[in-house]
Symmetry: C2
Subunit: 227 residues, 2 copies
DNA sequence: CGTGAGGTTGATATGATTCAAATCCCGTGG
DNA sequence: CCACGGGATTTGAATCATATCAACCTCACG
């Protein structure tokens, strides 16, 4: 990864609109912007590995990053999939000294890196920074709870139906949208083998769900809700 | 729940040793102790329900509390199981205005309650409080990640074997210990039906695991690791 | 000694993974 | 503009894992 780059104006714009920094202003924002460095990731490039000493807190500017845990025997499971504006690494940031999972760019991605020691230092002098981080961590914990419950409570088809419903307005009108990442990634995020995702889409065809490549057309959102 | 009780000396002792407060001292600790109130929960009593406005941050002093999400149709899935010293509600505390899951005492339990608005207020004046909360939230997020990965990567027998291994020293010596809660709770925590837990214990008998009531005897931890 | 909660066991059904093979889609070069 | 190639996706068949339902057991307690 190219490191130690100062943010371009475009990067800076993305940065100040991200989950954490958007809640800051004044000296707190300045302090954070002083320690930031921008990096570009190639597809499949690792950001860090489980067990690595945690040195950096990342914020995604563009692209998606897969957070996963792997078995010694090679099998792995996605634990979360984060996109623009989201923070990576906070689970390690203030707990253990090492990352508790691995992170890998799903595609070309731009990330902002903050030296963790300095972040901790800033947080302990600027309460608003700490509170902003608390907010992000809270949301991520809620999301992770939701993921566990979703896995345990719903079948593959139901999980896919829910995902689709989240991505179309709640007004019951027909929608069409583009998946932000390839289906294999979506499968991982939903805890499915790619084949299972495919079959789930097939099972939803009777209620007017059409999938062509990344284009998804949802004819009747209400009929999806029946699951 | 009996509320608005001041902590007894025993409560106070448990409190200052809990995950969060143990990292504090001086005025920060004092501020938190000023707003605490102690409550006693009957078995199965609800602490809060998913969707309730989040008004209180809880810390468990004694007993266990089950955090779960329920379907409209009555089925529910445990999302976490917290014991003495652990915090409940932080996922809502700094994110949404309402709890993202329900919490229920698994048995008679004592909890400390902190008014959330005041906690937020204290956190934004005392950075060490915010940082302590960040630490707890970090650990809970890591644990939740681990739970997702564990569910997706391992079978029932493997999850049970892992649980047992976590509860016996890593020195490979035979151990015997007592489950801290009934098996039905353990099943929920591991994402299993009670029947499945029972079968998993049965499957582990060949490698010297004996279960009688809550008493667990592990003859050969090393043979458990083979899973 | 009944009674009931918690736990176990068996039979069965369903859901999902796995492996293998066929097919689709998209960017590349002609 | 169109054919081509390779990775992504789909489909099929077999297998495995776990939920579910029902019956039974066990133990503590009145």
């Amino acid at each position: 990864m190219n490191r130690h780059l100062r943010p371009t104006p475009r990067d800076a714009d993305l940065l100040v609109n991200c989950n954490v920094l958007s809640r800051l202003d004044g000296p707190s924002l300045t302090s954070m912007m002083e320690i930031v460095s921008i990096g570009k990731l190639a597809p499949r490039q690792m950001l860090f590995r489980e067990g690595d000493p945690a040195e950096t807190l990342y914020c995604i500017l563009t692209g998606y990053v897969r957070v996963f845990k792997a078995n010694p025997d090679g099998r792995g499971a996605d634990v979360a999939l984060y996109g623009p504006g989201e923070l990576i690494g906070p689970s390690a940031a203030f707990g253990d000294a090492s990352y508790s999972a691995s992170a890998q760019a799903a595609e070309t991605a731009t990330v902002a890196g903050f030296n963790l020691k300095r972040v901790r230092d800033i947080a302990s002098h600027h309460p608003d920074v700490a509170v902003a981080l608390l907010g992000t961590l809270s949301s991520q914990l809620s999301a992770s709870y939701a993921c566990v419950a979703n896995d345990r409570l719903h079948t593959a088809v139901q999980r896919v139906a829910r995902y689709l419903l989240e991505n179309c307005g709640h007004d019951g009108k027909a929608t069409t949208f583009r998946l932000p990442y390839p289906k294999s990634l979506l499968a991982g995020k939903l805890g499915l083998a790619p084949e299972a995702l495919s079959r789930a889409f097939a099972a939803l065809r009777p209620c007017h769900v059409t999938v062509r490549g990344r284009q998804v057309q949802i004819g009747d959102p209400r009929s999806l809700a029946q699951f």
